[in-house]
Amino acid sequence: MNVPTGYVVGLSAVLFALGVLGVLVRRNAIVMFMSVELMLNAANLAFIAFARQRAEPSGQVFVFFIIGVAAAEVAVGLALIVAIFKTKHSIDVDQVSGLRG
């Protein structure tokens, strides 16, 4: 695909902004978490575009690491959500206000 790298990075910016919007607007903890995954994926897309621009495989290795770390993050995050659900019987983030002053 012979498309200017700026276009791909622009698409990555759009996806990142949509992920930010998801985290700020939704109240369901799982959907917020999925929006974080969307942001990680947008960053991966930018990495791959830059790796292609510079013909440098290190960028692809970085994406590999990011995917690995994201897998670890999802495992711990979903475990936390399950733990919160066990105590609060809800995963609405507005219900998690135990530390409110």
């Binding site: 910016a13 902004a17 607007v25």
Partner: protein
């Protein structure tokens, strides 16, 4: 050139549309399925950008393993529709405004970059193949690779500890 641009904008439209649908759908299961579609589209972008190995990792790990985990937790908790009205009524508009500002700054940063990076260089078929990525991964990045494996182990132990039923407390 025009065919490439057509493919790019078509796929970009699919990616943005699935992301918006993920944000808007009231049912968390639909959100997860739209996100799977989004990840598949991005995997096609990876393929088109000469990153075949990463594209397959994306499909198997992200669209496969991680999203199955998400769907499993959604169905385990029965949490498809637990959206209540936000306690702060002004939160939605403010969030939208902040996101627009963020995107505007990103677009500004992109457009202010007057230094053209030049044409995308030609790379051989081997660029991004498992052999090429593996050579770099196990060459210069061996230590980070091992650290990632330890991180995954710690995450696995942490997930088990967090969700384990605490029998000693419940017995009391």
């Amino acid at each position: 050139m025009t065919t490439d641009l057509l493919i790019f904008f078509g796929l970009a439209a699919v990616a943005i549309w699935t992301a918006i649908c993920m944000l808007l759908s009231r049912n968390a299961v639909y959100s997860a399925l739209f996100l799977v579609l989004n990840f598949m589209t991005v995997a096609v972008f990876f393929l088109l950008l000469q990153a075949a190995f990463i594209a397959l990792v994306q499909v198997t790990v992200y669209a496969g393993a991680i999203m199955v985990l998400f769907l499993f937790v959604i169905m385990l908790l029965g949490a498809e529709r637990v959206e209540t009205r936000p306690s702060l009524p002004w939160q939605g508009p403010v969030a939208a405004a902040v996101t627009v500002i963020l995107f505007g700054m990103l677009a500004l940063a992109l457009s202010l970059n007057t230094q053209s990076p030049g044409a995308v260089p030609l790379v051989g078929q081997a660029f991004g193949s498992p052999a090429a990525v593996g050579e770099v991964l196990f060459g210069g990045y061996l230590l980070p690779f091992e650290v990632t494996s330890i991180l995954l182990l710690v995450a696995m132990v942490g997930a088990i500890v967090l969700t384990r039923r605490q029998r000693s407390k419940e017995a009391r």
